[in-house]
Amino acid sequence: MTLKQTKPKGDEYLLEVSDLQKYYPIQRGVFRSTVGYVRAVDGVSFKVKTGETLGLVGESGCGKTTTGRCIIQLEKPTGGQIFFNKDGDKMPVTASTIKSLRRDMQFIFQDPYSSLNPRMTVERIVAEPLVTHGVKNKTELRERVVELLSAVGLSGDHLSRFPHEFSGGQRQRVGIARALALNPKLVICDEPVSALDVSVQAQVINLLQDLQEQYGLTYLFVAHDLSVVYHVCNRVAVMYLGRIVELTDVDELFANPKHPYTEALFSAIPIPDPDNQLEQIILEGDVPSPSDPPSGCNFHPRCRYAQSICRQELPRLVATKENTHHLVACHFAEELSLRGIKIA
């Protein structure tokens, strides 16, 4: 018998994902026989602490969006487990339990141009989660919607407008208001700013950070822009071809990357400093197809440090000796000394 453990606040995990898999069958022929699988997410594990922002980065097609969608069951995971900490109870997140967890987990979508129904007014869009979860009183609804809109920097004048009357940044604010309507604890942000202009990106990011502080939100922040990630995240998981290759605190990751892929990603960040003459690491070839991933370490065909063991053995995601909070999936994580980056 164990007593319910009361862990110290701040070290409590709000979300635990273990060995998450999402395979899409490839079907061919008249009878739709399955000839293979696209391994979009292939054994991803991580934990998100209450109140933090965990970044999930990687290039297009590495499975970061799919991971986010699997967590709130927009996609049915093929394997693995997800747990959500609901008021101290560790609840498994599955298709049958998600209903009671929707209030606590919400999603902000990438493209504000397609994430709002073009035939609904802003009021109806923001009110929809409230109506769905039982708010019936009209005046109460309207008050709450106005409150939400003002929280994201829009005003009550916008209530009866349609999405096409707004700019991209304003639309994304509407999307954020909708996500916040139910007072969620966890918000999964799926590249919330990548469809916006750079000037608007900063505003929306600041808004997200303000809201986090105000409402005590926890973010799972999916992104591919490393400078955005550096700015908003506490910890970062780097994904490559459906797997996490490195996971650690953001400062540690940027200063002291341990995976060759992370190093290559960093070398692609433009640094606005003429004296900074870093050699760029150009990755050879394309991202391999997730339907036919390379043997051993996924990254070996493009890795400049690859040895024969990399072709044969899949490296596990383990902590380095010097820092138990720094997880890397590389056979040579201890030996290589890789170049970090400083972002002013």
Binding site: R69, I72, L74, I98, K99, R102, Q106, F107, F109, Q110, D111, S114, S115, L116, N117, P118, R119, M120, E128, P129, T132, H133, G175, R178, L182
Partner: protein
């Protein structure tokens, strides 16, 4: 209302609307325009005599009397009601069945989609004319017995169209957003998917109302539809069948037997087609401002 304003703005669709309004008024005020005889079925065209040969228009019978002395004016006025009834009932049911099956098929996908679509294919393989003939030969002629097979063998294009549209809309992020919020499937379909995918179906439906009237008239012309003497434009054209060629030396002698019912039908179909056309222009998102 926006749609209505645009319909009025466009000259062609305005013409269609006026034409349609004209027919609606005729249908609504039929009892005043052509008062039926007390106690008799108003849909039965009164006979003004018993000779076979049509009587040309006169002051008393402004559009003349067709074969068997059936009053053409009366038939056209009350036939308008028949046209509306047939067109609207058949199309409504076709669209309804199509939308329900098509949206279930597209939204849930997988095996259910496969089953429903093969079911649709099976129905598509029956020629509708044969279907009608078989149905009528079993259950007897009559407008209702013609409408049933027209519905049963006509909903498939709607199901396919709505399915295709929904498959496209389903992947939009606002549908995912609604699912993430926990909106029920029924509300997702009715609030998010259908409003964004139903317009092509409405356009198709409005255009088809006209052509359904032609089909049913055609069947009446063949003797499968309305019983003799029933106020139906196709029936009236079928009366005209023996008199279309007039007589030797005077081909146009019985022109009124063909022209008046024919004109009513042409204008009726035209009005729906013009409206449908205008609808399509308005609903095209590329034209939308």
């Amino acid at each position: 209302m926006e749609i209505f304003r645009r319909l009025v703005k466009n000259r062609i669709s305005l013409f269609g609307l006026i034409l349609l309004l004209f027919f609606v008024l005729i249908a609504v005020f039929a009892p005043l325009l052509a008062p039926p005889k007390e106690g008799s079925d108003p849909y039965r065209i009164p006979r003004r005599g018993w000779t076979l040969e049509p009587t040309p228009p006169s002051a008393k019978y402004p559009l003349g009397l067709t074969q068997g002395q059936y009053d053409i004016y009366y038939g056209i006025v009350w036939g308008t009601r028949t046209a509306f009834r047939v067109g609207i009932i058949v199309i409504t049911f076709r669209a309804l069945i199509g939308i329900i099956l098509g949206s279930i098929s597209a939204y849930y996908g997988g095996v259910l989609d496969e089953i429903l679509m093969r079911f649709t294919d099976i129905f598509m393989s029956f020629p509708y004319l044969i279907g009608v003939v078989v149905f009528v030969s079993i259950f007897g002629p009559g407008l209702n017995n013609v409408m049933v097979p027209l519905i049963a063998l006509g909903w498939m294009p709607y199901a396919r169209m709505i399915r295709g549209n929904i498959l496209a809309i389903k992947q939009e992020e606002y549908v995912l957003a609604a699912r993430a919020i926990g909106v029920s499937d029924f509300k997702i379909i009715t609030r998010h998917i259908l409003p964004n995918s139903i317009f092509p179906v409405l356009i198709q439906a409005s255009m088809q109302i006209g052509s359904i009237v032609i089909s049913v008239s055609g069947l009446s012309f063949l003797g499968l539809g309305a019983p003799e003497g029933y106020a139906d434009w196709g029936q009236m054209l079928s009366f005209a069948r023996n008199w279309m060629l007039g007589e030797q030396g005077n081909v146009l002698k019985y022109w009124f037997t063909v022209v008046y019912p024919g004109l009513a039908m042409v204008l009726f179909v035209l009005s729906w087609n013009l409206i449908g056309d205008a609808f399509r222009d308005i609903m095209d998102p590329r034209i939308q401002a």
